[in-house]
Amino acid sequence: MAPALINVPPKAKRGEVIEIKTLMSHIMETGYRHTSTGEVIPRDIITHFTCRYNGVEVFQAELFPAFAANPFITFFTTATDSGTFDFQWTGDKGFSETASASITVE
């Protein structure tokens, strides 16, 4: 299954504020729902998201059951150097996914 869609501008000027967009495929089961026979459907969500820019953490987020499925997280950062963005999502049931994207800063 295709896990993530990432949008990082391929090029930016030094000091420019850039928008990063990420979309991770996940059901985000709240843990509050029941099956037709009354059993609780166990919670299965992403709980944490981090973004590292050349190894330095520039953004992190905690996620909760109220988040919709396939969470779409966007944020801004300042382009400082050419390099890579490393994204990591972790969550219930040992969920762990990573993705990365590179940027050229002129």
């Binding site: 295709a2 869609l5 967009k21 495929s25 919709a68 396939n70």
Partner: protein, 262 residues
């Protein structure tokens, strides 16, 4: 002579009445609007950008399935059809299409499953399964922006009229026809939501309410449960005929697959 004139006059009158009845409720071509134009700017932006459109997750899944060998024939879609971008360009814009063997129209979901049983000797995918949605989304994506051409095949004519008859027929405990909302009241709201004109331009589409991708038959089931009618099964001939009428009603409008709707 007077008698003949009388008959001719009556015929003319009857024709006029039937034309008026037929066209009084239908949406003029110039006023047709995609469901996307009823959405907020945010949702439109989500649909229009591939990295923000969650439907693209299914398209990417579909690309992997397209190349995966399946069935006892051990063949992938790509082994017969080649590159999806060239071979499937404009295909979804023509569906539901006429199948010679079955001598009736079939929709894209049925075509994928027929390909599986006829050519791959594989089990058909279940309706609304992730695989079937992924492949139909992938094929639909190749027609994005192209005008819908469904129903142009002359052999489809009787089936389009059956579909139209279903669209116009009152049914269910609320005694509503599709046309009562989508032809007569599309500029109004129902419980805060826009009613829209029911042009199926972007299926399978990602509905925020579903938190997932869904087919047109799923949407039709929603509507029919809402009017407290008995929904048709996904593979029922009526479903395909209704889809065919809706697609031919949207002829010329641009395909948006995979669309996003609220």
């Amino acid at each position: 002579m007077n008698f003949i004139r009388g008959i001719a006059g009556w015929l003319l009158f009857a024709t006029l009445v039937s034309i008026l009845q037929a066209s009084a409720t239908e949406i003029p071509l110039a006023e047709r609007r995609s469901g996307a134009t009823f959405m907020s700017a945010d949702t439109q932006a989500m649909q229009n950008e591939d990295t923000a459109n969650p439907g693209m997750l299914w398209v990417l899944d579909g690309e992997a399935l397209w190349k995966a060998k399946a069935g006892t024939a051990d063949r992938a879609c790509a082994d017969c059809h080649g590159d999806v971008q060239t071979s499937m360009r404009g295909v979804a814009a023509r569906y539901p299409a006429f199948d010679d063997t079955l001598a009736r129209p079939i929709d894209l979901e049925q075509r994928v499953n027929l390909c599986r049983t006829r050519h791959q000797q594989a089990q058909p995918f279940a309706n609304e399964s992730r695989e079937l949605l992924a492949l139909t989304a992938l094929v639909g994506r190749q027609s994005r922006g192209m005008p819908i051409e469904s129903g142009e095949d002359a052999r489809l004519e009787p089936f389009v009229s059956i579909g139209r008859e279903i669209f116009m027929r009152r049914q269910g405990q609320l005694n509503l026809a599709c046309a009562n909302c989508h032809d007569d009241n599309w500029d109004k709201h129902l419980a805060g939501s826009a009613i829209t004109q029911a042009h199926p331009t972007g299926y399978p589409l990602y509905r925020l309410e579903w938190q997932g991708l869904g087919s047109l038959q799923r949407r039709l089931r929603n509507c029919m449960v809402g009017m407290r009618a008995q929904p048709y099964d996904s593979d029922a001939p009526e479903t395909v005929e209704l889809k065919l009428y809706l697609m031919s009603r949207a002829r010329g409008m641009a395909v948006e697959t995979p669309a996003v709707r609220p």
